[in-house]
């Protein structure tokens, strides 16, 4: 009997010691947090945002630790940006610990499923389309108060301020990255070696396409397995015909494809396809395939967002240059020169309305967005910072990034990339149907299909 009692008693003793030790560690941790707060020096951005309207955190008593779930693109080149931002935020909100969950590349299905199941992460990256869906289903926290309290708007430069506000006048996500334009990358050496003029308007672009095709060089490397690059190119063709809102106007519920400017855009694409713009395998070409094709000198041009400048420069070096919109009508090319396609949508880090720590999460998300934007410039040499603060990239800008950075001050208007469309039905249809246009569909059929799709999308 004695032996039988000895074992449970011993176990009880050991468990009590573990519990005591853990609770001691816990309190020690709190003390550590408190001490680190008092001795910390927040980074310039976070300090600015915190001091803009809130008392210095270091003077406040230690707060209860909060753990937040953060759903974001925590992968690839952005991983160190997230890590550095998290570290910087520890100085301002030491009580907060975030656990990143890598966002799935799944048309936002996972995050929508979380919303449907009532288990949205505390903070998540939200695109314009997701903002609209979650706003409608009352899952999104309105961040107006925290944006005003932290004086976030004062930290953003003029061109980025509109990104903070939704069309209904509220803020649902604090922007974390600047507006990228869509650009044509081109291989200068291929143009020079083949004595082909770098196009500045649609007429010259068509001539260049024909010339490259005749020489057995793929004129444009388009990664058509993804559907948005085709939409971007069509948008450029439309913007180049003096419709600065491009396809975004249709997404907003105005106009239809029968209007001359849209039909003209579709006609340009049709004509270019007939002239041999793409390789036969364009619709099975991934972004990596297209970049490899371009880097190997098999293709003269590549269409992508300006975010790809560092990567393309790494591949091509000084042979690389960019064009903004060579699809502009010749007679108005100068007039529409700074009307850009791409960018232009309200997105960033948003907060779940149902988060147990919604207020803390909102403050953290807002500060995180600003610091994230800064770290992107520092680490990834983003040439289009959203911040007022002048941030210098750690490794400087390459010549192409420098050109973009200088030119971006002239940008007059921006449309949006396909994922920025707010009407999900319109987005899906224009992506699918435009791919058919690139596969050689007749313009009349395309216009008719798109008008029908618009009608359905607007119901």
């Amino acid at each position: 009997m004695k032996n039988k009692m000895r074992k449970p008693a011993f176990m009880l003793l050991v468990l009590s010691m573990i519990v005591l030790a853990l609770s001691a560690c816990g309190s020690n941790n709190k003390n550590n947090n408190a001490s680190s707060t008092s001795s910390s020096t927040p980074s310039a951005t976070t300090e600015a945002s915190a001091s803009a309207s809130t008392p210095a955190e270091s003077k406040e008593p230690a707060k209860d630790p909060v753990k937040l779930k953060f759903y974001a693109q925590y992968s690839g080149v952005e991983m160190p940006v997230y890590d550095a931002t998290k570290e910087a935020l520890k100085l301002v909100m030491p009580e907060v610990d975030v656990e990143f969950e890598v966002a799935a590349q799944d048309d936002e299905q996972k995050i929508k499923t979380y919303a449907a199941a009532g288990s949205l992460p505390d903070i998540f990256f939200a695109s314009s389309g997701l903002i609209e869906a979650l706003k409608k289903s009352d899952n999104l926290m309105v961040m107006d108060d925290v944006v005003k309290e932290l004086n976030i708007e004062a930290l953003l430069n003029e061109s980025s301020k509109p990104m903070l506000w939704n069309k209904d006048g509220h803020s649902y996500a604090v922007p974390n990255v600047g507006q990228w334009a869509g650009v044509f990358y081109y291989n200068k050496d291929l143009f020079t070696a083949n004595n082909i003029k770098v196009p500045t308007n649609y007429t010259e672009f068509l001539e260049a396409v024909k010339a490259f095709k005749a020489k057995g060089i793929i004129p444009l490397s388009l990664f058509g397995k993804e559907k948005w690059p085709g939409v971007l190119m069509l948008d450029m063709a439309i913007v180049g015909s003096a419709q600065p809102e491009g396809l975004k106007r249709l997404d907003n519920g105005e106009g239809n494809f029968s209007e001359e400017v849209y039909t003209k855009g579709a006609n340009k694409i049709n004509e270019l396809i007939k002239a041999g713009l793409l390789s036969k395998n364009a619709f099975n070409t991934t972004a990596d395939d297209a970049a490899a094709q371009f880097a190997a000198g098999k293709a003269a041009m590549l269409l992508n967002g300006a975010w790809s400048m560092a990567f393309q420069y790494e591949n091509l070096g000084d042979k690389l240059d960019i064009m903004y919109n060579p699809l502009a009508d010749a007679e108005i090319a100068d007039q529409v020169k700074w009307n850009m396609s791409g960018g232009g949508f309200n997105q960033g880090f948003a907060v779940s309305k149902n988060s147990k720590n919604a207020d803390v999460a909102a403050k953290y998300a807002a500060l995180f967005s600003i610091e994230f934007a800064k770290q992107r410039v520092l680490q990834l040499a983003d040439p289009n910072s959203i911040l007022v603060e002048k941030v210098i990239p750690t490794n400087g800008l390459n010549p192409v990034q420098q050109k973009y950075s200088d030119d971006s001050a002239n940008f007059k208007t921006m449309t949006t990339f396909a994922w920025g469309y707010e009407n999900a039905k319109f987005k899906t249809e224009i992506e699918d149907i435009t791919q058919k246009l690139f596969a050689g569909q007749k313009v009349d059929d395309y216009v008719s299909d798109m008008n029908k799709a618009l009608e359905t999308a607007r119901k």
Binding site: D107, A115, K225, S279, Q435, A439
Partner: protein, 293 residues
């Protein structure tokens, strides 16, 4: 407790858990799909009842008809290739004269154990319009028949279906081969004594006696074809446009890309009905009598 009561109790104990599981995993979601197909629902906000609107919209949607046609083409290719070639290979391997049975048996089954994504990538390379295997062979032979196999309006779905048929040929082959092996030897011996040639012997004995196996093979080939999704998702993403859509892909697009769960559910409901219809027809007209040896 009587013997019959004990028997019924045992029956209940063994079947109820599976039936419950099946009901929760399969029956209830199917019923929910039918229910949601009468609603306008984005998956997040409250649903609005709209009656048969989703179904009338389907009938007016070109993508629906393309998807329906593609599903049937896909099923046709699976049936012809997997059951047709599967039967020929199974008959050939069940013949006594052939050496290296084990090697061939294993070889035919190898693609089945590969992941669908790997197989799709393999076929993407084969179909590549710029220097893929097929186009290179045509070029080598001097034929001017190079194609964008996966982007062509008339080639895309056939090309994808063929890759899927190749991938899972091994399953049908094993089913048919096993069934052939279970046919009593004396039937063939009697036919040989009567002087029946090799192919006639199989035409008159093997094929008729495989009818029950064929019933099962047909059901999995046809429903597999109608349900196809993975291959086109990896190989073409349904495109260009909608040319390689099936009803499953259409459902995916509506529900997960456009946020129209009600419309997607209507497409799914049609798919369920289509699969059930084929299953009923096959059961109704094929192998109605049980074969015993």
């Amino acid at each position: 407790m009587t013997h019959k009561a004990k028997y019924n109790l045992a029956l209940l104990i063994f079947t109820v858990p599976t039936l419950l599981f099946f009901t929760v995993i399969v029956i209830i979601p199917i019923l929910q799909t039918f229910q949601k197909s009468f609603f306008d629902w984005d998956g997040l906000s409250p649903a609005t009842f709209i009656g048969l609107d989703n179904y009338t919209r389907l009938l007016d949607d070109d993508t629906f008809w393309v998807s329906l046609k593609n599903g049937l083409i896909f099923a046709f290719v699976l049936v012809v290739y997997q059951i047709g070639i599967g039967t020929l290979l199974a008959i050939a391997l069940s013949s006594k004269g052939l050496k290296a049975h084990k090697f061939f048996r294993t070889s035919y089954f190898v693609p089945v154990v590969l992941s669908g994504v790997v197989v799709s990538q393999l076929w993407i390379a084969i179909y590549n319009a710029d220097g893929g295997l097929i186009n290179s062979v045509f070029a080598m032979l001097g034929f001017n028949y190079e194609q964008a196999w996966l982007s062509g309006e008339h080639t895309s779905i056939w090309a994808i279906a063929f890759s899927a048929a190749w991938h899972n040929l091994g399953i049908q082959f094993v089913l048919i081969y096993t069934a052939i092996k279970s046919i009593p030897e004396h039937l063939y011996e009697a036919a040989k004594i009567d002087g029946a040639p090799f192919w006639k012997m199989h035409w008159k004995i093997t094929i008729p006696l495989l009818s029950e196996t064929y019933k099962f093979c047909l059901i999995i080939a046809i429903t597999g074809g109608l349900n196809a999704f993975q291959n086109m998702y990896v190989m073409t993403n349904g495109g260009p446009g909608n040319i390689s859509f099936t009803l499953t892909f259409m459902m995916y697009k509506a529900a997960f890309r456009s946020g129209e769960y009600g419309y997607g559910s209507a497409a799914a409901a049609i798919l369920v009905i289509e699969c059930l219809l084929f299953t009923i027809l096959i059961n109704r007209f094929l192998a109605r009598e049980k074969i015993t040896y």
